[in-house]
């Protein structure tokens, strides 16, 4: 079913604050098989000039994934048919342990490509204090039946 074009340009309220822990960063680094000590050892991170362990470049997906807007039944999104089309991160700085962040997402584009539906979600990730961390651009494709 076609995605609801009324959602183009719609922004969603900021997500609940997410507190980034050292253990979550380590779990993520383990899951992607990256042994870099900068993701698990605060001393190694400090030696590299960071205040605490930092997160891998794709970690912001953990805090920006989904979002309440995509669960809105009016959007007509069939999650089982969704594949990830494109992803981009624009970093102001790495996420680090201790950050408390919120995400504000906007659906910037919905259009048909053949039988598929393409949707772009832009997310601004900031600390609760308002410090910008990262912008993410998430393109998902709902495959046509």
């Amino acid at each position: 079913m076609a995605l609801n074009r009324d959602f183009i340009g719609r922004s969603f309220p900021p997500s609940e604050p997410y507190e980034v822990s050292r253990i979550k960063i380590r779990e993520f680094a383990d899951a992607i098989g990256d042994r870099d000590p900068i993701y698990r050892d605060a001393e190694a991170a400090k030696a590299a000039g960071h205040p605490d362990v930092i997160a891998p470049p794709t970690f912001p997906i953990v805090v920006s994934l989904g979002g309440p807007g995509l669960a809105d039944p009016d959007l007509n999104l069939n999650y089982a048919m969704v594949v990830h089309g494109e992803q981009r991160f624009e970093y102001t700085r790495p996420i680090q342990a201790g950050d408390v962040v919120t995400c504000t997402s906007t659906i910037t584009e919905i259009r048909s490509i053949g039988n598929n539906e393409k949707m772009v979600i832009e997310t601004d990730i900031r600390t609760v204090g308002g410090e910008p961390i990262c912008k993410t651009y998430n393109t998902i494709v709902e495959r046509g039946a």
Partner: protein
């Protein structure tokens, strides 16, 4: 926050040594848990096939993470990555037996001001390009 590779030491066309990363179902289960993406196409074979996929496929973000790891291992500091984007052009199919290999290559595509470079990546699995337009902007030392 300084990359270990020096801007002066790279030229447009400088190649980054190729790497092969192996991916098994276990990696996808771990990734599902760590990322919170529990879409069953990444772990339930019957469901993946029912929606027209050849088998379970890796999360696009898992594949993208391997490209990120490739870049940060080269640069020496994950904090040096300023921008990273990819297009997922084909799924990485991960059979129950034997898993899959992901081969990543990269080269310096452009030198920018402020010691920044654009690194262009390629990622292949089972002979297919799985990422296209994969680029990272990295601030070198």
């Amino acid at each position: 926050m300084t990359a270990k590779v020096n801007y002066a030491d790279v030229e447009v066309g400088t190649e980054i040594p190729a790497q092969t990363y192996h991916v098994d179902r276990l990696n996808l289960v771990m990734y599902a848990g760590a990322s919170g993406d529990f879409n069953p196409i990444h772990w339930r074979e019957s469901l993946a096939k029912a929606v027209g996929l050849p088998d379970v496929i890796a999360h696009g973000m898992y594949t993208m993470a391997q490209g990120g790891r490739y870049v940060t291992d080269w640069a020496g500091d994950p904090g040096a990555v300023l921008d990273y984007g990819v297009r997922f052009s084909a799924p990485v199919v991960v059979p129950d037996e034997g898993g899959a290999d992901l081969e990543i290559t990269g080269k310096v595509e452009e030198k920018l001001d402020g010691n920044r470079v654009v690194v262009a990546l390629t990622a292949r699995s089972a002979g297919q390009k799985v990422l296209t337009r994969a680029k990272a902007v990295v601030r070198l030392g």
